[in-house]
């Protein structure tokens, strides 16, 4: 479905990704874990076109998406829930969702998408007129995910959706990830919450200093000693 | 001073002193104007080069020009006292507006627009006080012929000498601030005010000092200009138009180098005059039209100014300390830290 081959990226002269290759099959959920500053966010931004890869190729369903600007990547079917949610705080919940459906294909079926998203997140329907910036962290995260879903993506990228949320809410977020999978979406999720993310994904990659250090199925990684010690505190 | 520098200085002085003997009066008039405006632009660049882009220098210029002239006409006060008073008035004005501005961290756009308002205040006050100043019809000083007391000299040579001295003094002050601790402190401040404060720089003092010097010198330039032309019009010595003229000429010439503002004055005034002669008065505006286009192009393609661009071409490798100014050609003015967010 989504494949990266030897992708490198840099901020100015600082290289943040070194020849990263990964592949995600249709309907799969894949995790990316790693310490702070490893380049996880950079990886997501490269895929969604916010940063240009200076090396390597990326394909979605076999079609090249390398070098496309972000707004075209969305039209290809990749939606990105950015780190820290990044809602438009002074827009209402529904306006945020409307922005999520900006691309023509989504705009045409806006009300249909909206019904679907509201059915997935009944809470947002209650809050539709509220300004996004005034909601709780968990609600904002739901809104950010919902906004991404409005474009009817094939692949959903999520960057640390559980960051900064209370434990109970974290559990809800992972529950949501399950639900979204069940809807048939392919998911690539970056998480620091290693233990919990390994419960919802099929496979995961360990990213360290901009390079992939380990890859394997969730079950394998749960048993891996490096991961258990460094990332699960076991 | 090295030998070759000494020779250059002597040659320059020789040329400068030969000019009034050689040049026809019209050109001498042009040269005097260029020198006075060079001084004013250099005074502006004292602040401008550190990213404090003031659109308020029209205010100081207006105060400098009008105060001695009014005192002379109405009280017969000699410009020898009137000019210092005008400088004090401009410095006070700069302090009254500058101090709270710096205290409240009014920077970037906001600083530019506050100072723009200041020049409008002076312009409109001059127009409003039309009973005294003649309003937008302008103001002519009482002429008394050749007089040291009145600082009036129908013979252009005198003003030429004054203008040369003024110009050299301006350059010396520029250099003094550049060489003294002034520059490093101000550069640090323009990069990041908090960081500068944390390494022990007295931010307020440094900013106030350069602002006051810059405003005072601008007023002095305005006063000398007024003494020379003997006719003042609010539009030509105060307000948004002249403020922009100052900013642009200084930037076109280059604010990072000693001679940049002077080159700006030389080019813009000769261009204006040249085009005026070329097109004749039927085409008022032709000169400024071309000038406006050049300004835009200059900001887009040559933001470090003409002198800066020439230096980059002719001096590709300078000592590292100098390289700083030339390696950031993207900015006329370094982005103040708080404007970056």
């Amino acid at each position: 479905m989504l494949a990266l081959s030897s992708v490198s990226a840099a901020y100015g002269s600082f290289q943040a990704l070194f020849s990263v290759s990964l592949e995600i099959k249709r309907g799969e959920a894949v995790g990316v874990i790693g310490p702070n500053g490893a380049g996880k966010t950079t990886l997501m931004r490269v895929i969604s076109g916010l940063i240009a890869a200076h090396e390597g190729t990326m394909t979605l369903e076999g079609r090249a998406i390398t070098g496309l600007p972000a707004h075209q990547v969305v039209e290809q079917g990749i939606a990105h829930v950015p780190e820290n949610r990044r809602l438009f705080p002074a827009l209402s919940v529904e306006e945020n969702l409307r922005i999520g459906a900006f691309i023509p294909s989504a705009r045409a079926r806006f009300s249909e998408r909206l019904d679907w998203v509201y059915q997935l997140f009944p809470r947002l329907k209650e809050r539709r007129a509220q300004l996004a910036g005034t909601m709780s962290g968990g609600e904002q995260q739901m809104c950010a995910i919902a906004r991404a879903l409005m474009s009817k993506p094939k692949v959903l990228l999520m960057d640390e959706p559980s960051a900064g949320l209370a434990p109970l809410v974290v559990a809800q977020v992972f529950e949501l990830v399950r639900k979204i999978r069940a809807e048939g979406l392919t998911v690539l999720i970056v998480e620091q919450n290693v233990q919990q993310v390994l419960e919802v994904v099929d496979r995961a990659y360990l990213l360290e200093v901009g390079a992939i250090r380990l890859a394997g199925s969730a079950a394998e990684l749960k048993q891996n000693s490096v991961i258990r010690e460094a990332y699960m505190g076991l | 001073m090295s030998g070759s520098r000494l020779v250059a200085a002597i040659v320059l002085l020789a040329v400068l002193s030969a000019i009034p003997a050689i040049l026809p009066p019209y050109f001498l008039h042009l040269v005097i104007q260029i020198l006075i405006w060079s001084f004013i632009y250099t005074a502006w660049a004292l602040m401008g080069r550190f990213g404090f882009v003031s659109f308020g220098h029209g205010a100081f210029l207006g105060v400098g020009a009008y105060v001695p002239a009014l005192l002379w006409n109405f009280y017969g006060l000699t410009p020898w006292l009137g000019i210092p008073l005008s400088i004090i008035a401009a410095v006070l004005l700069a302090a009254v507006v500058g101090y709270p501005c710096f205290r409240r961290r009014v920077v970037g756009h906001y600083f530019a627009l506050v100072t723009l308002a200041l020049s409008q205040v002076v312009l409109l006050s001059l127009v409003a006080a039309r009973d005294v100043t003649g309003g937008s019809l302008g103001f002519t000083q009482k002429a008394v012929g050749h007089s040291w007391y009145a600082l009036q000299f129908p013979e252009k040579g005198y003003f030429y000498a004054i203008a040369v001295l003024l110009w050299l003094a301006g350059l010396a002050i520029w250099r003094w601030i550049d060489r003294g601790i002034g520059r490093e402190a101000l550069e640090a401040i323009s990069e990041d005010e908090d960081a500068a404060a944390s390494i022990g720089i007295d931010v307020m003092r440094a900013k106030m000092r350069v602002t006051i010097i810059s405003a005072g010198l601008t007023a002095l330039g305005g006063a000398i200009y007024g003494q020379y032309v003997m006719y003042l019009n609010p539009e030509t010595v105060a307000g948004i138009a002249v403020s922009l003229q100052i900013v642009f000429a200084a930037i076109a010439g280059g604010v990072y180098s000693l001679l940049g503002p002077s080159v700006g004055a030389l080019l813009t005034l000769s261009l204006t005059e040249g085009l005026r002669v070329w097109f004749g008065t039927n085409f008022i505006g032709a000169a400024n039209t071309i000038y406006g286009i050049l300004l835009v192009l200059c900001i887009i393609f040559m933001p470090q100014g003409i002198v800066g661009a020439l230096q980059r071409v002719t001096l590709p490798r300078r000592a590292p300390a100098k390289a700083n100014a030339t390696e950031t050609p993207q900015s006329v003015t370094r982005r103040p830290s708080s404007a970056a967010q």
Binding site: H71, A90 | A112, A117, V296
Partner: protein
């Protein structure tokens, strides 16, 4: 209350309408593109000349002349963005200010070159209304009404349409709008066109009241910046309110002193307020 003072206050409110329209345009552009068009009032001047020539010289019917001026300035707005703003988009803010300042210089002098420094009037004489012994200019009433209609239309455009919502979104978080499928460059063009069109509308309204000359921008420009800064740059509602504050100061100041003095009051008020509230009247 003194009837003349009341008349001054009402005229102030009427003036505030047109100023508000201009402040909206400038704030819209600043909020989205993050560049202050210091030449904004001179773009209005171009529009006034367009109306003058179309209507007074070539006899084009006034509504058509206005429509042409509005769409012409929308085009000019796009041109300004493409030629001057886009190349300096990543430069320090002051360079951007200077680039548009260079354009100001150019527009004023080019207008002088083409049209000379004569004051020209389109020669539409609208009646003066006498209401309870006060004289109110019909042109001002129309200008006020149309300004309000324009502001309301802009409000609904921003509130109700996809493009409008995207414009508000980009002003809040410019980095991630790409993730929503929004091409920021196209939004910039759209906003520049809208800003130009608002300048065009203002030009139509001002041409009814004032003579056009190459430097008319110097009369309005500084006042509009002042309003925008007072309201908080980019804050459209703040700018809208500030327009009426400033126009009242000008009107009442003009009643007690002269026109210039009233502007001196307004600018001084602005400077003092900036020093008390550096981010504008309505900053949190």
């Amino acid at each position: 209350m003194d009837i003349y003072l009341l008349e001054a206050i009402i005229n102030g409110i009427l003036l505030g309408g047109v100023l508000a329209l201009l402040a909206l345009g400038l704030n819209l552009i600043f909020g989205v593109v993050d560049v202050v068009w210091i030449c904004y009032a001179d773009i209005v001047m171009c529009g006034m000349y367009a109306i003058y020539f179309l209507y007074a010289q070539y006899g084009v019917p006034l509504p058509l002349a206005c429509a042409i001026a509005i769409s012409g300035l929308a085009g000019l707005g796009v041109l300004v963005h493409v030629l001057i703003i886009a190349p300096v988009l990543r430069s320090p803010p002051l360079n951007q200010l200077l680039a548009t300042g260079g354009l100001l210089f150019f527009l004023q002098s080019f207008a002088t070159l083409l049209f000379g420094t004569d004051f020209r009037n389109i020669g539409v004489r609208l009646p003066v209304l006498e209401v309870a012994t006060m004289y109110l200019s019909f042109a001002r009433l129309i200008a006020f009404a149309i300004s309000l209609v324009g502001a309301v239309a802009l409000y609904f455009f921003l509130k109700r349409t996809y493009l409008g919502t995207a414009i508000r979104a980009i002003a809040q978080d410019r980095e991630i709008v790409g993730l929503m499928g929004i091409d920021d460059r196209r939004i910039y063009l759209a906003v520049s066109a809208i800003g130009g069109a608002l300048a065009g509308l203002a030009a139509c309204l001002l041409a009814l009241q004032y003579d056009v000359h190459p430097f008319i921008g110097n009369t309005f420009g500084p006042v509009i910046f002042m309003i925008c800064v007072l309201g908080g740059l980019g804050n459209m509602i703040g700018g809208f309110i500030a327009s009426f504050v400033i126009s009242q100061i000008i009107a009442i100041g003009g009643y007690y002193g002269s026109t210039e003095l009233s502007y001196v009051f307004a600018f001084t008020f602005f400077i003092v307020l900036m020093l008390i509230r550096p981010r504008g009247l309505f900053a949190p």
